[in-house]
Symmetry: C2
Subunit: 108 residues, 2 copies
């Protein structure tokens, strides 16, 4: 069994050279909202859900992005309602939110 | 199939309040060594291995720590030779390095 049932990593990478990065697209706010929502729902902790900061996940073209492991499901999101859906559907109930899944063709 | 065959996250968390953290225990050097080794071995990239920075993974008592997904295998390491073994055995060949696995009892 996985130490965390589901472990979601948000790319919070900040580029200072003018290149595109998740930090320019609301990644920190989405992370904060996810973290607070998971905690409020009582999902946080060992055997439950961990919401984690990450550096560049190298799929910048789809940013902002997050990945849920061990499921290995990648998401691109726009606003807090997308995050709410990921929390309620996937992190809580294990149902992938298909409309937000990042296609494999989207890379750096 | 997973976008990255294996995705390893290193906790690089730095605490400035005097509490224990992975950054005090060589985490950045281990990350750098792993990243360079994976690249040199030709393992890096889509369908291969991604070596990633992460924030606090919340298993500070075992730090420095890293986790390999989607396998969900957690490691605690001491030096570059430990990292070499994780790269050669696990990231390249899928064989878990049992002697470095972090017991489930080790948490924050």
């Amino acid at each position: 069994m996985s130490y965390f049932q589901r472990h979601i990593f948000f790319c919070l990478n900040q580029r200072d050279n003018g290149e595109n990065c998740c930090a320019q697209h609301g990644a920190q706010a989405a992370f904060d909202h996810c973290k607070a929502s998971v905690k409020a729902a009582g999902l946080a902790g060992v055997g439950g859900v961990r919401v984690n900061k990450a550096g560049c996940l190298d799929r910048c073209a789809g940013g902002p992005v997050a990945v849920v492991y061990p499921d290995a499901v990648w998401y691109s999101f726009v606003d807090n309602s997308d995050i709410d859906e990921i929390v309620d559907s996937h992190l809580k109930n294990g149902q992938v939110v298909e409309r937000l899944v990042l296609p494999d063709s989207v890379g750096r």
